[in-house]
């Protein structure tokens, strides 16, 4: 039995459905998806869906219906600072949320169909960056509006163009280093191979000389990053893997030159060249797999992109919140985020402060109430007078703290770093013992040769190569299922965690009020239709959730939409709505006497209650399952929230988190303290009130909620709204760490064998040439196979 319907646009399972009046086949999970479908239909671009089906991508993510304003893009201050202009054109780059496949590319490169003034668009799919060039007279706000309408959330990139160029140059340099090392290593291998096969005389010597020449570019150019890192490791007295690698490189060169001159057999150019090539490649792959760039400059421009309406000499003007000064008068319309702290000077409304406090209940505000940045105006338009600009506002200070916290985050030394230390130490001890052993008998040449052989043979390939390779395979697999990891060290840290903290609002719950129970009292009237008609035009959040519930009920029962005519409709902010339908007066009021954690609404017919409706911030369906799994993984689940005792304990006990692990009424700083006292902690949260805790916990995971402050503060970002991803993340981290351990064991085995023969003096170049790549190869294969296994277990 499967009556689960999926959204036509985004393919997500539908909780509350919507349909178009003229098309009954298409069903949508939200207005956002429906709007996109409508636009595409209108422009005859529905091929989009066909293309998407062909591409085989299954998950697209829902459209977040956000009412962002982009007027600030046209503000002069902004234009001068961030938009490249020529005589005829203007250029701006957008980071787009919601890029998934070929169909997006197809659609976005057709933007000129929507607007003639868009001259060209170019999408970089690997970075989700869209380059837009428009004619000089067109406004970028229009472009952004269009993109938003199509379901992509555009974030203009305010990044310094010099910086991004620099990054690109560095990537290019890395590639060139790799390709040069590949070229040289390949050719040296050819020459070395003939020598192993037994060339003699002048040919052998000239081949050796050629391989030395080919080794020089590697030594002098490709290996530069190793020297730098090794130098730093000496400077900061923190030995890392590059130290033995550089040591082996230099020793190999010296030994090779010595052998060339005295016609000895200690020529390792081929092995060393291959080693450099493989190390560079594996590091490059890891760098590509890490979304480390996301944590730095690019993100910093995201959250602060808020547009506001400022009143200047009686004229409304849309500006970027960055340019708001103390004393300015701003208009905040409904559904807009308040950009700066201030005082209400006109109007009354309700605020949603859940981002800041974690409380889901709306807050009522009127003239002279204080409002804080980051809260959302859910009611009427209000006018506020700014008391603190965006930088010094409540949210701004959190942002600054997060930034400094992020920079000061104590780096836990990773497993490989620690092993590297012991490794280096033991290799040195063995070589010194070996040297002394032969030197005491006066066999100086023998002593030096054998010692150098040890150092070269034990060069830590597995550590240097297999670990980044395993990690990057894991990271890219995670990102394919929607988990974006900013730093590879997270994988290791997750396996060390002992506690998991969940935020309540928006993490374990849906984050908005939903109808939980609908009871009618002795009535034949169609309460659904009555309430739908009354609330049809209301913008209040409760009205929205009522409407979506009713629409879904209708779709579920295959009944038609019923909209009744309402006279004398009256809405009183903060108390309710009333109107006359037919001969009866209907009234919806919220029940103030209600003491439970739910919001209770009463529908009255001529002052007699005919229906009770209970709304609450519902716990996600799989939340309990997730908590159970967390327990199975031997992690201790915690719940922490800024909300009041009632709802927090209600949710916590529902998902079976032990009572002692539930913390309510915790403001951002209290959450931070909690995390600081329990250092081995994974923190999962979404709002700005979690940002401090996210940035200071061992691993901070931001769940789906758009690109905002919490994403900036976290180590891991979930691009999909699914708690199950957390389990997958933990499991796959454990799995990949197991692979790393296995590789380490392999490599130790190889090294012990190598050292044994080096000490005995049996190492011939042929032996080294076989042993060194063989150990690397085994380990690379082991990493890849290990990851395969993990992937197949994933599908089940």
């Amino acid at each position: 039995m499967n009556d689960q319907k999926n959204c036509t646009h985004c393919n997500e399972p539908i909780v509350v459905g919507h349909t178009l009046p003229d098309n009954n086949e298409a069903i949508f999970c939200c207005h956002g998806c429906m709007n996109v479908f409508e636009i595409l239909q209108e422009k005859k671009l529905t091929d989009y869906y066909k293309l998407r089906e062909d591409s085989g991508v299954k998950e697209f993510g829902t459209i977040k219906s956000n009412h962002k304003k982009f007027g600030y893009l046209d503000d002069e201050h902004f234009q001068n600072q961030h938009i490249k202009t020529t005589d005829q054109t203007k250029e701006l780059h957008f980071y787009l949320e919601g890029i998934h496949c070929l169909a997006c590319l197809w659609l976005l490169e057709k933007l000129s169909i929507f607007n003639q003034n868009i001259l060209s668009t170019e999408l970089n799919m690997s970075q989700s960056i869209l380059k837009v060039i428009i004619s000089r007279d067109e406004k970028f706000s229009e472009v952004a509006f269009l993109l938003n309408k199509l379901g992509y959330t555009p974030h203009p990139i305010l990044e310094d163009s010099n910086l991004s160029d620099l990054k690109k140059k560095e990537d290019q340099k890395d590639l060139i280093r790799i390709v040069i090392s590949f070229f040289c290593a390949g050719n040296i291998m050819l020459l070395a191979f003939s020598n192993y096969a037994g060339t003699e005389g002048i040919i052998r010597i000239s081949f050796e000389f050629f391989s030395f020449l080919l080794f020089l570019p590697i030594l002098l150019y490709s290996a530069l990053p190793f020297y730098k890192s090794a130098y730093n490791s000496i400077k900061f007295k923190n030995p890392n893997l590059d130290l033995p690698i550089v040591f082996a490189l230099l020793m190999g060169t010296i030994l090779g030159l010595y052998s060339l001159y005295f016609h000895k057999n200690y020529i390792y150019f081929d092995s060393l060249a291959t080693l450099v090539f493989l190390l560079l490649t594996s590091r490059f792959i890891l760098k590509k797999a890490q979304h480390s760039g996301m944590s730095a400059t690019e993100i910093s421009s995201f959250f602060t992109n808020l547009s506001t309406i400022k009143i200047e000499n009686g004229i409304e003007k849309e500006i970027h919140s960055k340019y708001v000064a103390v004393g300015d008068i701003l208009i905040v319309n409904s559904d807009e985020t308040i950009p700066c702290d201030g005082i209400v000077i006109d109007g009354n409304s309700t605020l949603n402060a859940s981002l800041l406090t974690g409380e889901t209940k709306p807050i009522y505000i009127e003239k002279n109430s204080e409002v804080f940045s980051g809260t959302i105006n859910t009611g009427n338009p209000i006018k506020i007078k700014v008391t603190k600009d965006s930088k010094n506002s409540k949210l701004g200070t959190i942002l600054t703290e997060v930034e400094s916290g992020w920079n000061n985050k104590t780096q836990i030394s990773t497993l490989t770093d620690q092993i590297a230390k012991y490794f280096i130490l033991s290799v040195f001890v063995i070589s010194i013992i070996c040297f002394l052993y032969f030197a005491k008998d006066g066999l100086w040449e023998e002593a030096i040769l054998r010692t150098l052989s040890i150092i070269i043979i034990t060069c830590p390939c597995a550590l240097g190569m297999a670990t980044p390779l395993t990690l990057s395979l894991t990271l890219s697999k995670l990102s394919r299922i929607g988990i974006i990891v900013k730093n590879a060290s997270v994988i290791e840290k997750i396996t060390k965690a002992q506690n998991v903290f969940f935020d309540k609002t928006g993490t374990l719950t849906y984050g908005n009020l939903k109808v939980e129970n609908w009871e009618t009292i002795n009535t034949e009237a169609n309460t659904l239709a009555i309430i739908y008609s009354l609330e049809k035009k209301s913008k209040h959040p409760i009205a929205q959730s009522l409407k979506s519930y009713i629409e879904y009920e209708w779709i579920k029962n295959n009944s038609k939409k019923i909209s009744l005519e309402v006279r004398d409709l009256e809405e009183v902010i903060g108390s309710g709505i009333s109107g006359i339908i037919g001969d009866n007066k209907y009234e919806i009021t919220s029940d103030a006497t209600n003491e439970s954690n739910k919001t209770k609404l009463v529908l009255m017919e001529n002052s007699i209650p005919i229906a009770n409706i209970y709304l609450s911030d519902m716990v996600r369906e799989n939340a309990k399952l997730i908590v159970d799994k967390i327990k199975l993984l031997r992690l201790d689940p915690f719940l922490v929230s800024g909300d009041a005792d009632g709802p927090v304990y209600d949710v916590g006990l529902q998902v079976k988190i032990p009572r002692k692990n539930i913390f309510s009424k915790h403001d951002p700083n209290a959450k931070l303290n909690l995390v600081k006292h329990l250092p081995q902690t994974i923190f999962i949260g979404d709002g700005a009130n979690d940002a401090l805790a996210l940035s200071q916990s061992l691993v901070g995971i931001a769940v789906h909620g758009g690109v905002d402050i919490s994403m900036r503060a976290s180590d891991v970002f979930m691009a999909k709204n699914d708690l199950n991803l957390i389990i997958r993340l933990i499991e796959s981290s454990k799995e990949s760490l197991n692979i790393i351990y296995r590789n380490l064991n392999f490599s130790f085995l190889f090294n012990i064998v190598g050292i044994y023969f080096a000490v005995k003096g049996d190492i011939s170049p042929l032996f080294a040439a076989i042993l060194m790549p063989l150990s690397s190869l085994t380990i690379v294969i082991s990493s890849i196979i290990g990851n395969r296994k993990w992937r197949s277990s994933f599908k089940q």
Binding site: L102, L105, N124, S126, D171, Q172, I176, V179, N187, S206
Partner: protein
């Protein structure tokens, strides 16, 4: 066997030509975005198809 003194440098020079070609490709940004062009290739086909259909009419 002394022919190797000619063929090996020759082989190297040939290889260096390709190496330089690759480096140039990197420098002018051909390898900056590897994902999008692979998709674009598929789209181009479709455009051609559209045109063909139009021409047939």
């Amino acid at each position: 066997m002394s022919i190797v003194f000619f063929t090996i440098p020759l082989a190297l020079i040939l290889a260096i030509v390709f190496l330089i070609a690759f480096i140039i490709a990197v420098k002018i940004g051909q390898l900056d975005d590897l994902k999008t062009p692979s998709y674009k290739m598929l789209l181009e086909d479709e455009k051609v198809l559209e045109k063909e259909i139009k021409n047939d009419k």
